[in-house]
Amino acid sequence: MKALILVGGFGTRLRPLTLSVPKPLVDFANKPMILHQIEALKAIGVSEVVLAINYQPEVMLNFLKDFEAKLGIKITCSQETEPLGTAGPLALARDKLIDDSGEPFFVLNSDVISEYPLKEMIEFHKSHGGEASIMVTKVDEPSKYGVVVMEESTGQVERFVEKPKLFVGNKINAGIYLLNPSVLDRIELRPTSIEKEVFPKIAAQKQLYGMVLPGFWMDIGQPRDYITGLRLYLDSLRKKSPSKLSTGPHIVGNVLVDETSKIGEGCLIGPDVAIGPGCVVEAGVRLSRCTVMRGVRIKKHACISSSIIGWHSTVGQWARVENMTILGEDVHVCDEIYSNGGVVLPHKEIKSSILKPEIVM
């Protein structure tokens, strides 16, 4: 089986993290975002992944070379020279996706994190016999999204309603599709939208079926949702493989700590914290609802909550970092500094407090 991951653009919403690496390589729960998807695909027998990408393919491929061998999966890129929307990249990668087997292929949106119930999706696809399957997820505020209206018992999709003002349903497109190769015949090589142009036509012919995604789902394309997504991911990890989570008197709730990181005396870590490899968390530190990326040092008595600490940054003694503070790569917060929602670009030293959310260039 094959799969296409829609990587897309510059990931500006996740800046300053995406100033250092392409968005799919930003770590989420101690692993580059895209690896969550590649591993899930590999696990159900996908042999080749095509990344639809429109910038820096060399960076991606260099990085993923190691994983190709390690996971035993072929990874290639299909580079757009102009943005082709959400459907155009499928036409562009047509030759890579079609082979003699005639098997359906997966299409995944790279911003989305979930439990990836891909095996169930294959079964669902086989059972309904239609041309395409789409994963849908229930949301609280459907008016913000494109709602998928479907027939309850069979899942047959009737129509799509973009940002409905009146309630038509609460299931939205979760950005995970399983498509027969014939779908590619419906897509022209031009900028085009899969949810606005391609799916409505398939739905009209009663060939599109929606499967309600079990478990959590989150688009982690921006910091606030990234932090919420980590909570959901760790909740799910607690159920599926609790042994991966840390335990001990200094741990509260779900905490994921890389084994190469060190945690000092008298710390209190959690809930919903991920600490990447090679980090040093000194004595008396408090961490909650945050991500600490590779090579970070958190000095004594610092307190961090609801924030993302980028690669190789340091947080000084008695510093306080909170309220959606995002530190880019190699940022140094000096001792006793307070950051309330500071968004700090890479390679900066923060010597005075940031009292209100603002961007530090």
Binding site: G284, R286, C303
Partner: protein
């Protein structure tokens, strides 16, 4: 007056509760003069300065706070300094001169004298920036004789960058001057006729005859009459109107201790005692964990408990405060019996409980509050 020893009586005007409103919420619990600066009640600093006056016979505190509020302090300081200190309560505000005059019999009991310049008094003066001078009493003195030539209280236009510090030395003749003003007032009340001089004083005409202010009513009219002289200080001088100023002044006194009594300042390098940076006062009964880092400009009052990994910078920690582990307190006054939770960060509060991991910034918190959410630039009632 005939005493060869020239005995001196010191009077400290401490005001009263109606005047302390700008010092709220700290003055809700304690008379402002007893609020601790550098670990000592505010009034202790002028008292210990008076103690150095040769032939000091007596120190009076005059104000209209309840007598009982000062009883304990007055008796302990009398014992400590071996100088009789007494609190004299005014029945109502009489103005700074009126208050003095009210207790003239007691003050004169010890036959005090002062004859340096031959006038009736000397005013302590300091040079301030021209922009800030108009918040104070501005005055002009003769550069050679130091005679007070002109005095005007809080003028609208610039008069002088020399201001009245509110510290005076008087001979007993000051009481005659005060009586003069008081009599003039009575006469004015009795007679409808007004002289041109009195017409200028319309604003003060309606004041009661026993309400006499030193600045407007005594210094202004006596300027240029070879009665009053000035002495300019090069030392620090500040007016403590707001809680924020008390932090600065606490720092100034701590810095002074560095020269006058370094033994009262704390020291430590984080091994046996906490790390100390700059000038820090820690009351002997306070407990500070060795892993805490304190200073500069910190004063910690009695029975305070400072936990492991706590960081204190430029703050006043009052009696019975508990600061739990890894909390940070900066540029703040933490009121009596407050409790600051673990990993909290406080930048201004009083008599409150701050729960774990809460931030308080630029805020004034009234007593007996529990904060479980972070606050910024707020007044919490």
């Amino acid at each position: 007056m005939g005493s060869s020893e020239e005995r001196v009586v010191a009077v400290i005007m401490v005001g009263g509760p109606t005047k302390g409103t700008r010092f709220r919420p700290l003055s809700l619990n304690i008379p402002k003069p007893l609020f601790p600066l550098a670990g000592q009640p505010m009034v202790h600093h002028p008292i210990s300065a008076c103690k150095r006056i040769p032939n000091l016979a007596q120190i009076y505190l005059i104000g209209f706070y309840e007598e009982r509020e000062f009883t304990l302090y007055v008796s302990s300081i009398s014992n400590e300094l071996r100088v009789p200190v007494r609190y004299l309560r005014e029945d109502k505000p009489h103005g700074s001169a009126g208050g003095l005059y009210n207790f003239r019999d007691l003050i004169l009991e010890d036959n005090p004298a002062h004859r340096r310049y031959g006038g009736i008094g000397t005013i302590l003066v300091i040079k301030v920036s021209a922009e800030s001078a108009n918040q104070f009493g501005e005055l002009v003195a003769d550069p050679v004789t130091n005679e007070l030539l002109h005095y005007t209280e809080k003028p609208e236009t610039f008069v002088s960058d020399r201001i009245n510090c509110g510290v005076y030395i008087f001979t007993p003749d000051i009481f005659n001057a005060i009586q003069g003003v008081s009599t003039q007032r009575k006469d004015r009340a009795n007679l409808s006729r007004m002289s041109s001089f009195e017409a200028l004083q319309l604003a003060t005409r309606s004041l009661p005859s026993d309400f006499v202010r030193l600045d407007q009513d005594i210094l202004s009219p006596l300027a240029g009459k070879k009665q009053l002289y000035t002495y300019e200080t090069m030392d620090f001088w500040e007016q403590i109107k707001t809680p924020g100023m008390s932090l600065k002044c606490s720092g100034l006194y701590l810095a002074q201790f560095r020269f006058t009594s370094p033994h009262v300042l704390a020291s430590g390098d984080g091994t046996k005692n906490a790390s100390i940076i700059g000038d820090v006062f820690i009351h002997p009964s306070a407990k500070v964990h060795p892993t805490a880092k304190i200073g500069p400009n910190v004063s910690i009052s009695a029975n305070a408990r400072i936990g492991p990994g706590v960081r204190l910078i430029s703050c006043i920690i009052l009696d019975d405060v508990e600061i739990k582990e890894n909390a940070v307190v900066m540029h703040a006054i933490v009121g009596w019996k407050s409790s600051i939770g673990r990993w909290s960060r406080v930048q201004a509060s009083e008599a409150v409980t701050v729960e774990d991991e809460v931030v308080v910034i630029n805020s004034i918190v009234l007593p007996n509050k529990t904060l479980n959410i972070s606050v910024q630039e707020e007044i919490l009632l």
